[in-house]
C-alpha cells in the first residue's frame, strides 16, 4: 500500500525535488554542494543524474552571488531552489534574500512575482561551534515579504517543499539534520502542506506547547512522559513560522489557559517572544499562568560537548516548564 510507504525526512525532501523538477521544467536547484552528501546529505541524491548539470548546479563558494542568481532567475520566470548547506552561510546572502527578493514584489508595485525557495539546513552539534550551528529563522521571519517554513516531520517536509516551490513569493525553507533519519508514512504522489497552517500534533487540555522543527519532536517526547503523570499537553506544530497560524495558537490557548513556547532560536526578539506577544495581545483573558519561553540562551553555540549539552533544549526542559505552570 503506497499510503503506508515510509520515507525518511531527508528522502521526503528528495522526493519533492524529483517530482517538482519532473513536473515543471522551470524548476531548478542551485547551491554549494548539491552533488555532495557532505553538504546536503541524501536530499539531492539522483537529481544530477536525472536532470543534468543545467538544472542541478553545484557552485563555487559564492553565497551572495549564487543566491542573487537564484532570485534573478526567478524574476526571469524560473522557479528556483537555492540550497545553503548550513544556515550560517546565509549571512553572506542576506542582501539578495532581504533587500532584493523580499522587497522586489512590493517595491515594484506587484509587477513581478519572486518564486524562489531559500533552503537552509541547520547542521549543528558534534562540537562544530558557533558558525556551524545557527538557525536564523527568527531573523528571516522578521522581514516583510518572506515566508518561512520549518517542517518537523517527513510528511510536512515533502508537502512544504512542494508548496514552497509552487509559491509565487520567496520562501525560506529551514530543515534540521537532526530530523533527517526520522521516518513515517509519506504519500508517493505530489501534495502540498499549505503554507501558513500549523497542526495540532497531540491534543491535550492542560498546557499548550507551541513548537517548530526539531523541538516538535522533543515536545512529543515530553508529552509521552507527562501523560503518564496525568498531564495532557497540547502540542502545536507551527510548520510555518511566517505567516503564523495565529488562530490555531489562540484556539489552543483559549482551551488550555497555559502556554509554553519552545523554540530552537535565541531568546531576544525571537519566535518564542513573538508567539508570547500574540497570546498576550489576543488571549490575555484566557491565561491562567504566565507564558514560559524555552529558547536557546542569548549565547553563541559552543564547541565543547559538555557545553553543547547544556546549550540545546530538550524534552526535560519542556517537562520542567510545564510542571512549573500547573
Amino acid at each position: 500500500m503506497s499510503s503506508h510507504r515510509k520515507l525518511s525526512y531527508s528522502l521526503a525532501i528528495n522526493e519533492a525535488l524529483h517530482q517538482m523538477m519532473a513536473a515543471d521544467p522551470s524548476v531548478f536547484l542551485i547551491g554549494q554542494g548539491v552533488k555532495s552528501p557532505w553538504y546536503v546529505g541524501d536530499t539531492a541524491q539522483g537529481l544530477l543524474e536525472r536532470f543534468g548539470t543545467d538544472r542541478v548546479i553545484d557552485t563555487p563558494v559564492s553565497e551572495n552571488a549564487m543566491t542573487g542568481a537564484a532570485v534573478g532567475a526567478a524574476l526571469a520566470g524560473m522557479r528556483t531552489v537555492v540550497v545553503h548547506p548550513r544556515v550560517d552561510f546565509m549571512f553572506y546572502a542576506f542582501d539578495p534574500i532581504i533587500n532584493e527578493a523580499a522587497n522586489w514584489h512590493y517595491m515594484n508595485g506587484g509587477k513581478l512575482p519572486v518564486p524562489v525557495v531559500f533552503w537552509g539546513i541547520i547542521n549543528r552539534g558534534g562540537e562544530q561551534a558557533a558558525q556551524h550551528s545557527q538557525s536564523l529563522h527568527g531573523m528571516f521571519a522578521h522581514v516583510p515579504g518572506l515566508k518561512v517554513v520549518m517542517p518537523a516531520t517527513p510528511y510536512d517536509a515533502k508537502g512544504l517543499m512542494i508548496a514552497a516551490i509552487r509559491e509565487p513569493n520567496p520562501v525560506v525553507f529551514i530543515d534540521d539534520r537532526w530530523l533527517y533519519k526520522l521516518e513515517e508514512p509519506v504519500p508517493e504522489e505530489i501534495y502540498e502542506v499549505e503554507i501558513g497552517r500549523g497542526n495540532v500534533v497531540r491534543a491535550g487540555n492542560d498546557v499548550t506547547v507551541v513548537a517548530s522543527s526539531f523541538m516538535v519532536q522533543e515536545s512529543i517526547k515530553a508529552a509521552e512522559i507527562l501523560v503518564k503523570e496525568g498531564i495532557n499537553i497540547e502540542v502545536v506544530d507551527l510548520r510555518t513560522i511566517k505567516p503564523l497560524d495565529e488562530n490555531l495558537i489562540l484556539a489552543s490557548v483559549q482551551k488550555t489557559g497555559r502556554l509554553v513556547v519552545v523554540d530552537g532560536g535565541w531568546r531576544t526578539c525571537g519566535l518564542a517572544a513573538e508567539v508570547s506577544a500574540l497570546v498576550s495581545e489576543r488571549a490575555f483573558g484566557a491565561l491562567k499562568a504566565p507564558v514560559v519561553r524555552i529558547t536557546l540562551p542569548d549565547c553563541p553555540a559552543p564547541a565543547s560537548a559538555i557545553l553543547e549539552k547544556s546549550y540545546y533544549r530538550t524534552s526535560a526542559d519542556i517537562i520542567r516548564a510545564v510542571k512549573g505552570i500547573i
Binding site: 532570485v71 534573478g72 524574476l75 539578495p96 512590493y106 515594484n108 508595485g109 506587484g110 516583510p144 509565487p168
Partner: protein, 332 residues
Amino acid sequence: MRSLGGNVDYPKNLLVSFYRQMLRIRLCEEAFVEPILAGEVHCPCHLYSGEEAVAVGVCAALTEEDYVFGNHRSHGHYLAKGGSMQGMVAEIFCREMGCSRGRGGSMHLIAPEVGMLGAAPIVAGTISLTLGAALASTIRKDGRVAVTFFGDGATGEGVLYECMNFAALKKLPIIFVCENNYYATHMPIRECRVEREIHEIARPFGIESRQIDGNDVLQVYDAGLQAVEKCRSGNGPVFLECLTYRFRGHVGPDDNVQGSHTDIRPREEIDLWREKDPIKQFENYLTVQRIMTQEEMNTAREEVTREVTDAHGFARRSPSPRVEELERYVFA
C-alpha cells in the same frame, strides 16, 4: 577606438532614433529639476544627464526580449529599454499610475513587458540578479542576453567578483556594463582604488573586456552589438567599461561643485565634460554627415519636449496610492 566622425553605414532611421532616445532621457531628466526644487518631487533622484550614450547605445543592441537590470541611477536605462515615460514620471512623483505604483520611486523602475526587470540602489545588488536572468536564459536555451548596469562604485563590492567568476565559468550571456563616471557618490575614484583601469578587473576571470568612450553613442552601440553577438553565440560574458560623466551631482539637481556646500567637483572638470556632452557631439556628427538638418533636430526637440510635458501632466493628474492599500503587494 573609433570615435564620432568615422565612416559608418548605419541607416538614417537608426541614427535618428539614437538622437531621439538620448534627447528623451536628457529632457526628461532636466524636467525634474524644477519639481524637485519646488518640493513637488521628494524621492531621491539620481539624474542620468550626461551619460545618455551608454544606455542608448547598449539598449539599441538588444531586443525587447533581452533583460536589463539597473541601479539607483537608472532613469536612462529604463527609458532606453523601452519603458513608458509616463509610467516613470508618475513613479517619480510616487503616484498610483507609476510603473511601480508609487511604492518604489525613482530608484525602483521596472517594465517587465520590455525586459526591464528592475533597478535597486544597493550598490552592486542587482548584478547577481542579472547573473540569474542570464542563467535562466542558458537553462531555457532561449538566446536572451542579460545586461547589468552599474557604476564605478560597485567595483568595490565583492559580489561583482563572485558574479564575474561564475559568469565566466558557465559562459553566461551577461554583459557587465560599468558606467565609470569617476565618482562613487561623493568619493572621487582616486580615493576608492589604486588601479584606475576598471576594465582590467575582468581579465583575470577570463572575461573579454573593453574600455570605451561612453559619451560616443556609436562606439557604445558597436561595442554593444559585438558583446550581444558573443553572448548569443554562447561565448559570453563580456565586460564593457564606459567612460562617462554625470553632469549633475550624485543626487538631485545639485552639481556638487567645489566651493558649494557639497564641495566635490572642480568647476573646470565639469566644464571639460560639458564640452564632451554626448548629445552635442552627436548633433555635430549628424550635421557634418548630413544625416539630420538643424530643422529636423529642432523638430525632434520640440516633439520630445511635448512628450515630457505630457508625461508630467499625466503624473500630476495621477492619484496617490490609497492609504487602505498600504500593505498590498507585500506578497503576490
